[in-house]
Amino acid sequence: MAFNDISQQLQQQLQQAFVDKRGVSVVAGGTKQFYGRDPGITYEALDVSDHKGVVSYEPTELVVTARAGTTVSELNQVLAEHGQRLPFEPPVFNGEATLGGTLACGLSGPSRPYTGAARDFVLGTNIINGRAQLLRFGGEVIKNVAGYDVSRLMVGAMGTLGVILQASLKVLPIPQKETTIIFHLERDSALDLMNDFAARPLPVSATCFYGDILFVRLSGSEAAVESAYMALGGERLPKTDEVWQSLREFQHPFFDTELPLWRIAMTTAARPELPGEVMIEWGGAQWWLHSDSPAEEIRLAAARCGGHATLFRGGDRSSEIFHPLPPKMAALQERIRLAFDPHGILNPGRIEALNKKQS
């Protein structure tokens, strides 16, 4: 595996941008350029992809530390050699997605409601903030409450609070056995079942409802999976991983459309009628929607379900991509951004429009 430390170089480049008050666009694998806002301006690239390599990995401590440019695929491979994996199942995007980009975008896969999100497994990070300072937060231990949890704050911040250089993550063993079972039923019954399964001590590790089929993955020890299968019934799929991999990588036929793709997070008990074709994941907590209906309409529906809507892919990328925040919260978030990046040089306009920030 490639092993390369270019943190000094990255810091110097950012130092110059800080002095010049010039924006930079943080990139690595470039697999998630579709995500987030298009700022409409091409900034100088701050390319983290050469900053790579697993720095330390201690399987018996359940902790791996890797540089941000390390691809998720490489990381998975290293972990698999010791029977472990990243528990939040991030997309690998043809092997090009990097650890840094995965964390910056905060993407988690099918296991998210059952084992946790990307942010849940972050133990520590090394970052460069908008003052071009190299900082280290958290650490390589599972329990650590010294100082504010800046490492987890970096997850999903789209690189606007700091350039992630390195991260330590908690990892878990690959389950001994996985099996996928399906049930043919209507949407509301499927949602009931997803909630019911999650309230029982079952080794459910992923759920999806699409095309009147509820897909349920069971993961754990052979004994746990088999006894749960006996208890739940359903029809066992011959290829356990196929559907989950296609969901994780956005290769499922559902995603094959020109319409804007919305991601709506909501409470698992919601039963919304949304204007377009939907697919439900995460035990009812994550809905995907294809729709060219107005953003306001979709956001109102999401808010009514206790959640928020993100224009995940396609549509007008210069519009508001992320769900607008209430004014007081927006103001607080803006102050936080400035606390990390006073000149606004890190991925400007990637979360929200620039003129809004400056007002």
């Binding site: 401590e61 902790v63 900082l135 231990v141 949890d149 052979e222 008990a269 206790g306």
Partner: protein, 494 residues
């Protein structure tokens, strides 16, 4: 220092009381000395300070008003839940209001379908699990103080417990907070969905030790109770083998629900106290709990037994009944009171280390124990590397507390040196504020202050806790050079 500015303070204080009395019932404001005394300290009783006032609001609206008044008058506010914290995070300030959230003790909603509970911050940790029990659900984080500690304090400290290797800390088990800011704004952080738009402020708030806002409502996740739980007790002739066995269990692909280690001194002290049948001649024991379906736990118990035997366990016992399982746990859970029985005082440390560093740290601790002439017992959340060495001392013996604190500081600094942290779950509070300077450099501490400023520009929320000033770190650096003697003893401690 208080003496010299007394007249001005008196005026300031009565004006504050007048303003608060406009919206707070008289019985919600404590101002007489005898009323204030019980609030002088939290669970870290070595530090005491009488607050200017104690307020016990009953509604969120009152909290908002209190914050507005304090903010307008530049009066510091220290929030307090049940007061069980072990790092002095809720230590009052002489010129500050102590905001006690004990009256917020209602479970507002418990939704078994969505597996969430909406609770007020003063609800006790264990009360949530008790209320959820009828639905076969529970709230996973279980700090040892769970009978008494409140959920608001758990959020402030990001509390863990003996089951957090498998089930996570507070941050992994909450969805949403309602927080009152220092300027009296009510914010909703997080959501009832699994994530929310914007930066992850739930992560920042959790473990922020009352420095960023006051939590007035928490939505927690509830988990299904495991179908079956089994406990293995293994004894070892050498601490090193016990440490290696912990790694062995994890290498075998088992994630125990709990994995605890005790050293010989801790074993003997707890056995004398709790009579739980521990092998008192063992150098160390491991308590390894697994949970899941019945078949799964049976399989895992077998795996654990094999690993323990491979690492030279001198004795392996499986709890044969629920009563025996609870008995095995009883000793571990009573380790602190057991120390209280054999020593007038004890000082609990909360460092975390990569587990491979355990033997080195333990042998260092033995050296220091001899040097400082202080006994130390070790109980250890072995699964996640969180150490709780308990230094036994007598505060009435001149110099013992000082030697204890110096000993503790050495242990914490070594935790940092070997890649760990000064606090795994008890928080920095006032207790470990100096050691923060060992763990973080100047720019990192500046970044923490900048983040706080975004929430609390006037630094009125719990000032002096959690994050040291750079000046303090400079002075602490000097302290190292001068071999433990504080160069400016007249400086205030916060």
């Amino acid at each position: 220092m208080n003496q010299s500015v007394q007249p001005a303070n008196d005026h300031h204080r009565s004006s504050l009381i007048n303003q608060l009395a406009r919206f707070l019932p008289r019985n919600c404001i404590l101002m007489e000395d005898q009323e204030l005394v019980p609030y002088e300290c939290d669970g870290l009783s070595a530090y005491r300070q009488r607050p200017l006032l104690v307020v016990l609001p009953e509604t969120v609206e009152q909290v908002i008003q209190i914050m507005k008044v304090c903010s307008a008058m530049s009066v510091p506010v220290v929030a307090r839940g049940a007061g069980t914290g072990l790092s002095g995070g809720a230590l009052p300030l002489a010129d500050g209001v102590l905001l006690v959230l004990a009256k917020f003790n209602q479970i507002l909603q418990l939704d078994p379908l969505r597996r969430i509970a909406r609770v007020q911050p003063g609800v006790r940790n264990l009360a949530i699990s008790e209320a959820a029990d009828v639905h076969g659900l529970y709230y996973a984080p279980d700090p040892s103080s769970q009978i008494a500690c409140s959920i608001g304090g758990n959020v402030a400290e990001n509390s863990g417990g003996v089951h957090c290797l498998k089930y996570g800390l507070t941050i992994h088990n909450i969805l949403q907070l309602k927080v009152v800011t220092i300027d009296g704004e009510l914010l909703t952080i997080g959501s009832e969905a699994l994530d929310s738009a914007g930066y992850d402020l739930l992560a920042v708030m959790t473990g922020s030790e009352g420095m960023l806002g006051v939590v007035v409502e928490v939505v927690v996740k509830l988990l299904p109770k495991p179908e079956h739980t089994s406990l293995v007790l293994a004894a070892f002739d050498q601490v090193e083998s016990a440490g290696a066995a912990v790694g062995g269990v994890i290498a075998a692909g088992v994630i125990p629900a709990g994995l605890e280690m005790m050293d010989n001194f801790a074993i003997r002290a707890t056995e004398d106290f709790a009579h739980c049948g521990y092998p008192v001649d063992a150098a160390a024991i491991l308590l390894c709990e697994v949970d899941g379906t019945e078949a799964e736990t049976r399989e895992q118990v077998e795996q654990v037994k094999v690993v323990m035997a491979q690492h030279g366990a001198s004795e392996i016992r499986i709890a044969g009944s629920e009563a025996e399982r609870l008995l095995f746990w009883k000793g571990r859970k009573m380790a602190f009171p057991a120390m209280g029985r054999i020593s007038p005082d004890y000082y609990c440390i909360d460092g975390t280390i990569p587990r491979r560093e355990l033997p080195g740290l333990l042998s260092k601790m033995n050296e220091w124990s001899e040097y400082y002439k202080l006994r130390v017992a070790n109980v250890f959340h072995a699964g996640d590397g969180n150490l709780h060495p308990l230094i036994l001392f007598d505060a009435n013996m001149p110099g013992e507390l000082e030697r204890t604190e110096e000993f503790a500081a050495k242990i914490l600094e070594m935790c940092v040196q070997v890649g760990g942290t000064i606090t795994g779950e008890h928080g920095v509070g006032i207790e470990k504020i100096n050691q923060m300077c060992s763990q973080f450099n100047e720019n990192e501490i500046r970044q923490f202050h900048a983040l706080k400023e975004a929430f609390d520009p006037l630094a009125l929320l719990n000032p002096g806790k959690a994050i040291p000033t750079l000046q303090r770190c400079a002075e602490y650096g000097a302290m190292h050079v001068h071999n433990g003697e504080l160069p400016f003893p007249e400086l205030e401690r916060f």
